[in-house]
Symmetry: D2
Subunit: 133 residues, 4 copies
């Protein structure tokens, strides 16, 4: 119904010599965003792992529309695009001053501790309802 | 005609607590691979920058088929999928022991120092010929 | 008089296969801490750079007492140990649940845009007063 | 008797907007250096872990004398300063074109899989002999 938002301040560590955030770092921004979405959904990822469910990324896609820069207070948006079978697709956007800088999506697979695919557990599907878009 | 290859040893720094390489780090592997491809093509990226040509990433895509692990000596393959107008698409694979772990592609835009799009310069197109696939 | 505090949530990106935060990442935590200290002191580092003052690190020291782990909400403490001549020493601690996990210090040099050492500017010294320890 | 050397090419990923390698990244360079030193000593760190010996860093120190830059082919030197009891101190230097850019040392603790301190095993001490300085 709505996407989830957190803010994140760009440190020097994330920039490169082009004076912008290095392209790989946005994937860690996506991670920060979806982790807090799951926490707000009542099901922190660390809790899922304790229950023996892991969510490795099996596919990622990013469009870099404009660069983020040092010290900007970015908005990281996350939402659930799909949960079906053993997969979950999370959408992500990085926004600054009302402009989308980067948009992308990440496909997660649900696996057990011994790395076997498992269906997305019902409590995970239920928890994600507010963040379906 | 052939893809370019380098090797890369996975440091502890690149792993995460799942015991595998963290998903964002493969994008830096792709960077390492395409940088050495350009160098072998006779046109190091640092040289391009001195000539006022920058190649920021405008799109990236990754499929994670199997995890890379600490201390593995990976093979990083790179090739040119397309150079047309202001864009260049580079394909990349991360391989270990004959198995493709990650495959992806990155779209680069040619821009000038003042961040205006410019056509891919002829010497860049010529240099890339051996690595078209 | 007091040290400055922010909180920081450990992402998967920062962990390694030992299941703890990789040792180099604490230096980025120190950066996050001292950046927010300067902002709260009324003199954001990005502002200093606009005025032509850069503060590269010339020395760093870290003691790793206990590991930080995924998803912990850490407290990052920062304070000023010394500002004298062209140097500034910032102390840092990473704390979780009342326990100091990592403590260290970083020496910064004040330099101009052309990389010449310059005395720490008066406004910087004045702004730092509340965070002397 | 001699220090160990490897080369390392600086990727864009390691630089920051000051146009130099970000200070935390040198600690990963130190890791790359000491890992290859142990491998050349005949005792790869991954082998040690399989034998139940882990070497977390308990202290690190860095002096940043001059910046490393994008695309430089750095020389990473490593040597053993001390092995005594449960500790091992490794010295490291980052060199470019004959100039030492960064020098530092890292203290490692020998621990067992259940994180108890253990004496540095004899084979580790023996293997390190060629790299004592």
């Amino acid at each position: 119904m709505a996407c989830h938002e957190i803010t994140y301040r760009v440190p020097y560590a994330d920039t490169d010599q082009m004076g912008v955030v290095y392209y790989a770092n946005y994937l860690t921004y996506f991670e920060r965003g979806r982790t807090e979405m799951l926490r707000d959904a009542g099901l922190p990822y660390s809790e899922l792992e304790k229950q023996g469910i892991f969510l490795p990324v099996i596919e990622a896609h990013c469009k870099y529309l404009a660069p983020a820069r040092y010290d900007q207070l970015l908005t990281l948006q996350s939402w659930v695009e799909e949960i079906k079978g053993v997969r979950m697709i999370i959408g992500s956007k990085v926004i600054y001053a009302g402009t989308t800088l980067v948009s992308g999506s990440v496909t997660l697979a649900c696996i057990s501790a011994d790395r076997k695919p498992v269906r997305a557990p019902e409590p995970l599907i239920a928890a994600c309802q507010p963040f379906f878009l």
